[in-house]
Subunit: 121 residues, 2 copies
């Protein structure tokens, strides 16, 4: 049978818009998603689940109501469920998200940055 | 509050043995684990769960009964549950594993390479 590696950089090269996650793999009921972030995302939280951010390229700051964490390539952070957060990237940042299938990017906040959660690439 | 990034390279620098996964983060009931692989691991499968391999440094081949996949840094692969596989690395390879907490490294096979599944670093 043919088994194919999933190459993150090749997948990132296939899209250029910001804040629109693309699914690249499924593990049980979890999705691995790639997203390019630049500028401010919206404050939001996910009531039902933790959410993992892994930085593949660039830098991302995740702000919390009582602090912040600065992440760069090779670093990760797990946002606990229910915790409000706001990602910010001064320059374009390539992020791998790991979270349950069906997790909406804007969580409880909704709004115009809400993306389709079923987009594969 | 103090929020701290998890730096994969810093975590890898804290141990040197092979085939002994270290937990670095938890997301819901899943663990992120680092492992250094070199040489042949054992044929095994996980009856209850998929398992994600992400290569951080080096190269890893995952053999299946009917094929194989070659992975290098920046690539990932999800082993479907129940599928027999055998990782092999000619030189030391740094791997990030993502799988449910309690997943045993040797799966159904057991044997002397079976590692503690509760080791944090």
């Amino acid at each position: 049978m043919e088994y194919t590696a999933i190459n993150l950089h090749d997948k990132f090269a296939k899209f250029s818009d910001h804040f629109v996650p693309r699914i690249i793999a499924r593990m049980n009921n979890y999705h691995f998603k790639l997203v390019k972030s630049e500028g401010d995302f919206v404050w939001h939280s996910h009531a039902e689940t933790d959410e993992t951010f892994m930085i593949i390229k660039g830098k991302l700051t995740i702000e919390f109501r009582d602090g912040a964490v600065d992440l760069e390539a090779g670093e990760m952070f797990v946002i606990p469920k229910g915790v409000e957060h706001k990602p910010f990237a001064e320059k374009e940042c390539h992020v791998l998200l790991i979270e349950p299938a069906g997790t909406i990017n804007t969580g409880d906040a909704g709004g115009e940055l809400t993306a389709d959660d079923t987009l594969w690439i």
